[in-house]
């Protein structure tokens, strides 16, 4: 048969009926890959997954028949409609995942052949990627690494084509396969030229489940964040870390007020600003965890812009895209920078407006203050003095408040959290005719001495006020500091030590403090080196290596060279380790004898065994007859004897062969 008529017999191989062990293996690996998603998926989808897997396993055991085709088609359609009904879309992260899960689950019901199982395994590999849209943390990565091994194990099970497989052997093979892939993966990760994304605009979707600051503030809003010890961002300072009291991380600025709630509206971008200050800026790099919003946190007052971001007239830094992924940016701030030196009249009018319907007492107090003092600064001092000297308490568990919430707080309960103090202070200022607004963000942070950076958590969330004074612009006033100076100086957990357990590593676990700081440092480096490895980072890293790799084509060349070198090395190690065993020393000697005889013209005929051949030689080479017989005897003794493999025997065999005169 000629090769041109011959084809790769592909079709019949993939159409073979899958054996039992592969079906079980694929069911298991699918369950393993999907299980972490059960948290996010609607219950009915999880139920479908479990039902399909159970059905397929029972069918595999011969307890159930094939799933009816018409029912399957009906279910596939129903599943698609169900997903649409749940999310009102079929694209995007959550709906896409749901659709993929439902369809894969139904695919199980009709997986009979080798081909179907292979496709399901590929879907499992794809599912691994979907986990990274929810979390890219080290534990997730480790979990997915294990998942990769499990999926690969089932892939090997399918291709092993045996009914009786040894799980240990399979795990061994798949682990080896995955471990061998790691060096190549690292080369690819470092050297494949990165393209700045996104390629299409699907990433601006809003994702649930992310905690962080919101665009409005009402009593109780921030205190919800306090119990969350997730990291909001980490900061590497160039030089000294500023004192705790200066660490105000500026977030959403809110000027709108309806008597209960403060909220922000988009403001115009700042077109230009003048550096009025000559003191050197504080320089630092923020690694911001995804917050699902647009806020870019920066130390008060940010004086730099980063890519794809806007600086508003409030000096609030906002990203043009939702921050759904880790973001790293370098910033500089000047604490004494002037904000809003020539604020518009409209905005100032907004910043002094308030609904007259509620909080009459507070409004009356504000107005009386305005009558008593001519100077804004005196009014501010008077209110702060009230907070400081009267019986106000800083607490996470304030009593519930009604419509006149500020009145109830100032003249009744006097127990509140930062949003109560900042909110009531701002209203008092407005009543007294001083423009005031709320700034939310974070205050403080925990210094990690191991990695020399600051950790800011959601629990550091804070709200303070800014008042506008002619010629001085917007000035920060933090009424919470008046009530509880330790909130600002020592941090939230010290200020509320009897209400919340501390989130600081040092307080939480004095024994393993350093270990935990090291772990956080690992996370920080992970964020820094792995999750933030984008086109810019790649370029700076490669130029730091100083190998002359500084453009696209250099990278590709380096990539190919390294890949070839590493696979070549693997190949060599394999060849060396798995080469056929070397013939024993006596065989080598014996072959030398045969070669000697061949030189004399004695060639072994294919029909002769060694013994017959040597007999023939002996008959013709009569003088060597005894020598030959002794060599053969030694050879047989070494080869078959119990203790024949001694160095002496080998040596005498060698000397005899060498001394033969042929």
């Amino acid at each position: 048969m000629k090769p041109t008529e011959q084809n790769l017999p592909i079709r019949s191989i993939s159409l073979e009926i899958a054996n039992r062990s592969s079906v079980f293996a694929v069911c298991f690996c699918f369950l393993f890959a999907i299980a972490p998603h059960f948290r996010q998926l609607p219950l009915w989808i999880s139920a479908i997954v479990l039902f399909s897997l159970c059905w397929r396993c029972l069918q595999n055991l011969g307890k159930l028949r094939d799933f009816p085709k018409w029912l399957l088609i009906t279910l596939v359609i129903a599943g698609g409609v169900g997903v649409f009904a749940q999310y009102w879309t079929v694209v995007g992260r959550d709906a896409g995942l749901a659709l993929l899960t439902v369809m894969s689950a139904f695919k199980f019901l009709e997986s009979r052949r080798h081909r179907d199982l292979l496709i399901l395994v590929f879907l499992c590999y794809f599912l691994v990627a979907t986990h990274f849209l929810f979390s890219q943390s080290i534990p997730t990565a480790a979990m997915m690494f294990v998942t990769l091994i499990v999926i690969t194990t089932s892939l090997i099970t399918i291709n092993q084509r045996e009914e009786n497989v040894s799980v240990k052997e399979l795990l061994h093979s798949s682990t080896r396969l995955i471990l061998l892939s790691i060096p190549l993966m690292l080369i690819l990760f470092v050297l494949v030229p990165r393209v700045p994304g996104p390629l299409w605009g699907l990433t601006n979707e809003q994702r649930g489940g992310i905690t962080g600051l919101s665009d409005n503030m009402s009593p109780g809003k921030i205190s919800n964040l306090i119990r969350n010890n997730e990291v909001a961002f980490r900061v590497d300072f160039e030089g000294e870390v500023p004192p705790q009291g200066q660490l105000y991380w500026r977030g959403p600025v809110m000027a709108h007020y309806n008597g209960y709630r403060w909220w922000q509206t988009p403001r115009k971008p700042l077109h230009k600003f003048y550096l009025t200050e000559s003191s050197p800026p504080i320089k630092y790099t923020v690694t911001l965890e995804p917050n699902g919003e647009h806020w870019l946190l920066a130390l008060d007052v940010p004086t730099q812009l980063i890519a794809d971001s806007i600086m508003t007239e409030d000096f609030q830094l906002t990203s043009k895209k939702r921050i759904n992924d880790l973001l790293r940016y370098s910033m500089e701030s000047r604490p004494a920078h002037l904000i809003g030196g020539n604020e518009s009249v409209d905005y100032l009018r907004l910043a002094t407006s308030f609904p007259e319907k509620f909080n009459h007492q507070t409004i009356a107090l504000g107005r009386s203050l305005a009558r008593r003092f001519d100077n804004s600064q005196d009014i501010i001092d008077e209110v702060l003095k009230m907070f400081r000297e009267q019986e106000f308490y800083y607490t996470l568990k304030p009593p519930r408040l009604g419509n006149d919430n500020v009145d109830e707080f100032l003249f009744g309960t006097r127990r509140g959290f930062c949003e109560h103090y900042s909110g009531s202070f701002a209203l008092l200022m407005r009543a007294a005719g001083i423009p005031a607004r709320i700034v939310t963000g974070y205050q403080g942070g925990e210094f990690n001495a191991v990695g020399n950076y600051l950790i800011v958590r959601q629990s550091d969330a804070h709200a303070w006020t800014e008042v506008w004074i002619e010629d001085k612009g917007w000035l920060r006033v933090d009424p919470t500091a008046a009530v509880s100076p330790s909130r600002i100086e020592d941090g939230i957990d010290n200020a509320l030590a009897d209400e919340i357990s501390s989130f600081r590593i040092q307080n939480r676990n004095p024994l393993f403090g350093n270990l935990l700081y090291s772990w956080d440092n690992v996370k920080h480096s992970w964020n820094d080196w792995v999750l933030n490895y984008d086109d810019q980072r790649q370029r700076s890293f490669l130029s730091k290596l100083d190998l002359g790799i500084d453009n696209w084509s250099d990278m590709v060349i380096a990539l190919v060279v390294l890949l070839v070198a590493v696979t070549g090395l693997f190949w060599f190690v394999y060849w060396y380790r798995e080469r056929p065993p070397r013939p024993a020393a006596y065989e080598i000697l014996f072959n030398r004898l045969l070669r000697k005889l061949a030189k004399r013209g004695f060639d072994r005929k294919p029909s002769e065994d060694t013994r017959a051949f040597l007999q023939r030689v002996s008959q013709q080479e009569f003088s060597q007859r005894e020598q030959l017989a002794r060599i053969v005897e030694l050879y047989n003794r070494i080869k078959y004897g119990r203790d024949g493999n001694s160095p002496q025997a080998l040596n005498s065999m060698r000397s005899m062969i060498n001394s033969m005169n042929l």
């Binding site: 048969m1 090769p3 041109t4 011959q6 084809n7 790769l8 017999p9 592909i10 079709r11 019949s12 191989i13 993939s14 081909r115 292979l118 496709i119 590929f122 794809f126 691994v128 990627a129 990274f132 849209l133 890219q136 990565a141 997915m144 990769l148 690969t152 892939l155 090997i156 399918i158 291709n159 092993q160 084509r161 045996e162 396969l177 995955i178 892939s181 790691i182 190549l184 993966m185 690819l188 990760f189 494949v192 990165r194 994304g197 996104p198 699907l202 990433t203 759904n324 992924d325 792995v530 999750l531 933030n532 490895y533 890949l563 696979t567 394999y574 380790r577 798995e578 056929p580 065993p581």
Partner: protein
């Protein structure tokens, strides 16, 4: 099946290249690097498409872990290319000379597969064209046997070829294979016609009076010159002593009935029908313990009996006017 339509020079070149790289072997075939081929399977291509999608998604979401996963799977592909290749490398395939079968029966081919290396080999498949493959697993430096049963549709003498030894282990992304062509006889006798009895009209039966002298038999018939190879027992030593040279005693007898199976006497049917009929006659004659000879145009097989004789007769019938004599074995689609 993809049929390649190539211009004839290219085709000749490919054929030549193939022949020179995969010579048929009468001994074992060892799959060294030059005899081993590897290409992605459909799943390999599907996997590649999936990786492209993952890569695009990773770019779009700027998701580092998705990049890492993509690159991990790319590396897995590269490593499995190498593993699939090495799973087959160094394997030796030996074909036992197949037992002749009658056309229409399944022909059983026994392959002995072995390798000298210290690694295990999994899911080694042997396949003829696109017939269902048979798999086996080999321990370190071990050998194993697999049997392939192939349907036969044509009589004749063929060379077993068109076999592949292949593997897709471990990931199924790649198909590594080596062609197997053997310089061994694969003999397929014509299919014997059913319900055939020895009929007088179809065969030429010899009577006692026309029977020839043989060295066996009951009655002494005379002496003739000794031929090399004849038993010394039949030499007339008496005549030798008389100085008449070596003479062999001959006898006449009717030890077995003898007959001729003659092409000329069969008038009906096509070539294949006639051969089929003659095959049945050979079998019937052998079964009835008769001596029989075969007469075909250009070929005469002397009368004899026994399984060796039967084999010679059947072989002669099998290759008679075979258009593709000693071509590679081929299963024809029905």
């Amino acid at each position: 099946m993809i049929s390649l339509s190539l211009p004839s020079p290219v085709r000749r070149y490919i054929d030549h290249w193939f022949e020179s790289h995969n010579p048929p072997s009468s001994a074992a075939i060892r799959l060294h690097n030059r005899r081993l081929y590897i290409l992605p399977t459909r799943f390999g291509y599907l996997f590649a498409i999936m990786l492209m999608l993952l890569f695009l998604a990773a770019i779009n979401y700027q998701n580092s872990m998705a990049f890492m996963l993509t690159f991990m799977l790319v590396s897995l592909g590269i490593i499995s290319l190498w593993h699939t290749h090495k799973n087959l490398l160094g394997i030796t395939v030996k074909l036992q000379i197949p037992r002749p079968v009658f056309c229409g029966e399944a022909c059983e081919l026994e392959f002995e597969i072995s390798h000298p290396n210290t690694s295990k080999r999994y899911a080694i498949g042997i396949q003829y064209a696109d017939q269902p493959p048979v798999y086996l697993k080999l321990d370190a430096a071990a050998s194993g046997k697999v049997k392939l049963r192939l349907p036969t549709h044509r009589r004749g003498l063929f060379k077993p070829g068109g076999f592949t030894v292949f593997t897709r282990y471990p990931t199924g992304l790649f198909h590594a294979w080596g062609w197997l062509r053997f310089d061994l006889p694969l003999l397929i006798y014509p299919k014997p016609q059913q319900d055939v009895r020895l009929q007088q009209s179809m065969i030429e039966q010899f009577d006692g009076q026309t029977s020839t002298s043989t060295i066996e038999g009951d009655d002494f018939a005379g002496l003739r010159e000794h031929r090399v190879g004849e038993s010394l027992r039949h030499i007339s030593w008496k005549a030798y002593a008389q100085g008449r040279g070596l003479l062999t005693k001959t006898f006449q007898g009717q030890a077995r009935p003898s007959l001729w199976i003659d092409w000329e006497l069969i008038t009906q049917g096509s070539l294949e029908d006639k051969l089929s009929f003659m095959t049945a006659l050979v079998l019937a004659a052998e079964a009835e313990e008769q001596k029989y000879g075969l007469r075909l145009p250009g070929t005469i097989i002397e009368q004899d009996y026994g399984s060796a004789h039967k084999h010679i007769c059947l072989q002669t019938l099998a290759v008679f006017k075979q258009p593709d004599f000693e071509a590679e074995f081929k299963i024809e689609a029905d």
